[in-house]
């Protein structure tokens, strides 16, 4: 009987302690900021995580804020660059609650924060873009691009106001895309097509030109090659003829009359053919052998 009472009262004490614990304490999570409110008046701002004591509801209430980096896409709208070009630059905002008390007093919740931030970001973006040329947004010249600078400028501008007015730290305003008003895209397409047409024509012309060059060079090379060969041939022939003449001359110089005699015989052999009729005198050897002896005596 006694033990049962002890056990029962122990259980009762435990349950009571648990209830008190729940009512009188609260936790601040590592990523949270808490504003403790007593009868509607903020009394404590808790930034450090851990376990804290409080008066039970309805005396004190706990207002928690997630202090993690939040992200949202700003509303898209047109802006004008310094050189009067219309651009549409969607940006995102990475922000977090830094001063929970100010945030609570000025905005209350994340939804309100977004719409307030939106106005800040839009006006900051338009202000900053008005100080830069279109060519500082897009350019083939790397040094001209000022996108990170523009982002920093917008971020700084927004961060300053957001912190002062709403207790929000804006960590980054980033440009997500570079776009143009819808009506302008048609002109861009026309220009792109014209550019491509130019490139295509240029490629075709260059190809033709290069091909022509190769052909012309081939023909020229051929002519040169053949001309050189002919020149060599002429020279070789000339040299050979001179050499032959020299050889003949050295031989024939030894007995010119014999040479003439042999040449004549040779010529005779060559001149006379089957159609030739030769009229000979009988004194011509070897026919002189036929001559009547009487005449010879």
């Amino acid at each position: 009987m006694n033990t049962q009472i002890i056990i029962r009262s122990l259980i009762g004490a435990l349950v009571g302690a648990l209830m008190l614990f729940v009512m009188l304490t609260f936790q601040v999570r590592q990523n949270e900021r808490v504003v403790l409110i007593r009868f509607g008046r903020p009394v404590r701002v808790l930034v450090e995580p851990g376990l804290y004591a409080k008066w039970p509801w309805p005396i004190e209430t706990v207002n928690r804020f997630d202090a993690r980096l939040d992200f949202y896409d700003a509303r898209v709208s047109e802006a004008l660059t310094r050189d009067k070009r219309n651009v549409i630059i969607p940006v995102y905002v990475a922000w977090r609650i830094e001063d929970p008390l100010r945030f609570l007093q000025s905005l209350g919740n994340a939804e309100n924060a977004r719409s307030k931030l939106d106005g800040l970001v839009t006006s900051a973006r338009n202000t900053v873009l008005g100080g830069y040329d279109f060519s500082q947004l897009v350019s083939t010249n790397r040094a001209e691009i000022k996108i990170p600078e523009i982002e920093h400028a917008i971020t700084d501008l927004v961060a300053q106001q957001a912190k002062q007015s709403f207790g929000i730290a804006v960590e980054q305003v980033g440009i997500k895309r570079l776009t143009l008003p819808e009506a302008n895209t048609e002109f861009v397409f026309a220009r792109m097509r014209a550019e491509r047409g130019q490139f295509a024509a240029q490629y075709r012309a260059e190809g033709q030109q290069q091909a022509d060059q190769v052909r012309a060079k081939t023909d020229a090379d051929k002519v040169v090659m053949l001309a050189e060969a002919r020149k060599y041939a002429e020279e070789t022939r000339g040299k050979a003829e001179a050499e032959a003449a020299r050889i003949y001359q050295t031989a024939h110089e030894k007995d010119p009359s014999l040479y003439r005699f042999l040449r004549e015989l040779d010529a005779l052999k060559r001149i006379t053919g089957t159609n030739t009729t030769v009229v000979l005198d009988t004194s011509t050897p070897p026919f002189d052998v036929l001559r009547p002896q009487s005449k010879g005596e």
Partner: protein
């Protein structure tokens, strides 16, 4: 039967109810004890093989990271175990810039909100699909620093890609610069994520599809075909050169060879004939008259042998010794009879 049952129930009623209550209280007690036990051990958590966990005690981060295995933590309001998949590689597809023709129709213009695109350095419109692979490198930062990690990651990558593409020409983006687009986007995005303290390590940024706006794709294709055409023209010219030059070289070689052989032939002939002449000359010098007669006779033999007709006449006062008749069949030259007559 019914009556008897009723009587029994009535008779033993209070005792039975008491008995039932007693046993149910006992059951409840055991049940409570069991629940208490379950609660006490509810903090024990299994950390998966691809996860890393850390503990928040009363909301405060406890030092030490726990890799896969059993983690002995205290139950809920005291300890909170946060598990982060650190080892698995996660992928996000970035399709916001993809071309989206409505019902296969390509509109004349692009809406800056509905249609995703960005501008290149030479103010061309580019559409693309990317994906990014990443791993959590710092689980505490990943879980506690950023609220919607994938959304921020996505935004940062678009931001980086925008910045990189804005300084490239459309040709660079579409072809040669693709590698540098990937590398630079990865580098810029990683720097940005580190600055924001995301605790994420980017592994790869892939470009799945990148093209000019659908509206101008035909113009771009025309450039490609122009390039192919010009390449073809050049290749044709090159093959012309490749076939013509060897032919010309062969011709030149042949001409040279012919000249060489002609020259060699000529010299050889001259050498041969000179040698023959010199041989004869040696003989001739020994007995000139005899040699002369023999040569003459040889020649006459050859000549007369190949003639069809030979006329042999008595010598006369006339100095004419030889008459050449142009062709047989036709009458001999008019001069012939006269000569003969003269001889008569």
């Amino acid at each position: 039967m019914d009556e008897r049952h009723g009587q029994r129930d009535l008779g033993f009623g209070p005792a039975a109810v008491l008995q039932a209550m007693k046993s149910s209280v006992r059951l409840l007690r055991w049940g409570l004890l069991l629940l208490l036990l379950i609660y006490l051990f509810s903090g024990v958590t299994v950390v998966g093989p691809n996860e890393t966990a850390f503990v928040l005690r009363f909301g405060k981060l406890q030092p030490g990271l726990h890799s896969s295995g059993l983690l002995l933590a205290l139950p809920q309001p005291i300890d909170e175990v946060v598990k982060v998949p650190t080892r698995s590689v996660q992928e996000i597809r970035l399709d916001a810039w993809a071309a989206s023709p409505v019902n296969g129709m390509i509109a004349a213009t692009l809406n800056p909100i509905r249609d995703g695109y960005t501008l290149t350095g030479d103010a061309n419109i580019i559409q693309a699909r990317f994906s990014v692979r990443y791993q959590v490198s710092d689980p505490v930062a990943y879980a506690l620093a950023v609220k919607d990690q994938p959304a921020l990651l996505e935004a940062v990558l678009y931001q980086a890609a925008t910045e990189v593409i804005a300084q490239m020409t459309v040709d660079e983006v579409l072809a040669s610069g693709l590698e540098s687009l990937r590398a630079q986007t990865l580098r810029i995005a990683q720097a940005q994520l580190d600055r924001l303290g995301m605790g994420v390590q980017l592994l790869a940024f892939e470009v799945h599809e990148i093209s000019p706006a659908l509206q101008v794709v035909p113009a771009f294709q025309d450039v490609v075909s122009a390039r192919v055409e010009s390449q073809t023209l050049i290749e044709q010219a090159n093959s012309y050169r490749a076939s013509e030059l060897p032919a010309a070289r062969a011709d030149a070689y042949r001409i040279k060879q012919e000249a060489d052989s002609y020259g060699q032939d000529l010299v050889a002939k001259a050498t041969g004939e000179s040698a023959a002449f010199e041989a004869i000359e040696v003989q001739y010098k020994a007995a000139p008259q005899l040699m002369r007669t023999r040569l003459y006779a040889d020649a006459m033999e050859t000549i007369l042998h190949q003639l069809q007709s030979t006329l042999i006449l008595q010598p006369s006062g006339s100095n004419l010794k030889l008459l050449l008749q142009p062709s047989y069949g036709s009458p001999p030259l008019s001069i012939t009879p006269q000569i003969i007559r003269d001889q008569d």
